[in-house]
Subunit: 343 residues, 2 copies
DNA sequence: CCGAGATTTGCACGCGCGTGCAACATTGCT
DNA sequence: AGCAATGTTGCACGCGCGTGCAAATCTCGG
């Protein structure tokens, strides 16, 4: 502990101090290796004294597993992404993996650079939470023996494992909720992002509405976020006929929308306006919002990721799509039932 | 690209395909190495064909720099932490480092395990955002040549680099703001976490108040978060004399507090109650809150971290504390000025 | 006390890479 | 042409570790 080598302690040094061979040190820290209790004690003692820690990088060099899993994400500070990172990293750690976080802005070049980094660091798996890596990049990762897991990037690329949430049913259910609440003038607050996952929610809602012969206004005033929801509300409620039921394809959009509707237009939620979001971020449960929304089963998703990494990878079919069902979370941003007609 | 080796491509294979020695391949991907234009072309061509990427793990084995920086964090999904992670990882990447995220629950054992992981993976630096690693663990990291950077964990341990925000002045300024707003009955909403950083805000506020001979109620009803702020408000406003000026040592606390005050007690903010938070998380700017708060200069902090990692590390003094000034962010949760007395 | 079997230990090799050193090729100048 | 200077290439070694293999040690019954 008093060594001022300014460098990492090696097994060699531990071996010298313990008076054994380097192999003995190595075996002491290798599960299932054969070491006598005596030398193990000596080695552990020496290791403790020197502050020795096995070099996982060197270990992974010969052994095939690096235990490194890369997360490719953008908008890390966004509640949804942050929650995902939180849960996934915890789960990864619980199965002995360690997470590398690659923060992109979602542009094609940055995502490409991120994917290359994952193979530079010999990550045994790549989990893509944002952006859409090109098929050739994915192919490179796969051919290098990495597992590639795309989450809610349901372009349904062949090769990687796709984990998706069933947006369609949720979109339809959102419509049913608003219908049951007696909403007559429907709107969707969407974003310009246009990712398949978000589009699916939107189109399913519209499809369900059209089956009832009802029209839906669509707002798409910017990227997926609070400010865009706010702007959408300003435009929606600045018009002659204002909506009384809004499906926001994201909780953040819903919150921006709700805040502007209430603060700038004096609209009461849910009495005059019912709003539904998606994701069930922490803020959705806050008193100020009390947002009815759909929860993505992040726990189950993380669990599935862990099981994927645990499985050999060769046994599992390469092109696999697993879908999870978002569960509706009832709160108070949707009117409980239709008002009486004369009210 | 068509190779189905199910394993990473090595420089050896590239060399064979390109018809050069492995050294040539290595030099092609090493800055400043001497390779003729001809062989470089051949190598790059072969590398592209095979999908070769330099193994950074092996590179770091002989070379001293792993370029890996570990972030030790808990409560990753919290807006403040998420924002910190976002900014720091971006900055790290911009200077060629890659971030490993170690997610702890803050318990001593988990933090200890996290610190050990950092040396297992030969991280060249450890950035601690949550939890308090024991001095001996820090010593181990330092003696192994790692940089240890503690952020807002201002126990002022000797050895690591401490980056702190000046909580004291901010706490005093918070008091001045409330005083100027004419608040007569002051309260602090704090948490049971009791980290020095949070305590500093609290004690500075109280000290400033006491210099004016004024008393301050202190609420400490749980961990640092929304629910605790909400609970604090329930207790505060359930009493006979209710506060009209509250300093919440965290934005999340402020939001919980504000929501309950408004929703459950019908209190108008800022007319009847002025609230100040701390951190300036994204939600503070939301219309529903419009929270006056203090912004931590995260950009400058990240910049400083980057410069620390760029510097040799041997030149910089080991035991260093850099402090940054939080900047007040004026919004509308504090009454602009004192009301007329007869109002 | 002896020997067969079980256990432990050390040696040596390889994992993929960077790099010093010497051999080799190229260039430019007289 | 001759020669020095410059540029390029390959060899071999080491980074820290796991592990197969054979030598060494231990165990235990006869």
């Amino acid at each position: 502990m008093e060594m001022r080598e300014r460098s990492f302690v090696t097994a060699e040094e531990v071996a010298k101090l313990a008076g054994v061979s380097r192999s003995a040190v190595s075996r002491t820290f290798t599960d299932g290796a054969s070491v006598s209790e005596g030398t193990r004690k000596k080695v552990l003692q020496a290791a403790e004294t020197l502050g020795y820690h096995v070099n996982h990088l060197a270990r992974g060099l010969s052994h095939e597993r690096s235990n490194i899993v890369c997360l490719v994400v953008s908008d890390v500070s966004t509640p949804y992404q942050a929650q995902m990172i939180d849960i996934v990293t915890k789960k990864l750690q619980s199965v002995g993996k360690i997470a590398m976080l690659i923060n992109t802005v979602g542009s094609a070049e940055e995502v490409a650079a991120a994917m290359r980094q994952t193979v530079n660091y010999r990550a045994e798996a790549v989990i893509v939470l944002s952006g859409t890596p090109s098929p050739s990049l994915i192919a490179t990762c796969l051919s290098n023996g990495q597992r590639v897991i795309l989450i809610n990037r349901d372009d349904q690329l062949s090769g990687p494992t796709n984990i998706v949430v069933q947006n369609g049913p949720a979109g339809r259910e959102a419509y049913q909720l608003l219908k049951r609440a007696g909403c007559a003038r429907l709107a969707i607050v969407s974003s310009t992002a246009g990712t398949p996952s978000l589009m699916a929610r939107e189109t399913a809602f519209i499809a369900a509405a059209q089956e009832d012969g009802r029209d839906v206004q669509i707002m798409r005033t910017g990227p997926t976020g609070y400010a865009t929801g706010a702007e959408a509300a300003r435009q929606l409620f600045g018009r002659a006929t204002t909506p009384d039921g809004i499906f926001c394809i994201t909780d953040l959009l819903a919150m921006g929308c709700m805040d502007v509707a209430r603060d700038e237009f004096g609209i009461m939620v849910p009495d005059e306006l019912s709003i539904i979001g998606f994701d069930d971020i922490d803020q959705a449960a806050w008193i100020a919002y009390n947002l009815t929304t759909f929860r993505q089963p992040l726990g189950a998703i993380a669990e599935h990721i862990a099981s994927l990494l645990a499985s050999d990878g060769s046994t599992a079919s390469a092109n696999e799509t697993i879908s999870f069902h978002p569960v509706p979370v009832w709160r108070r941003s949707v009117r409980p039932r239709a008002p009486r007609s004369g009210e």
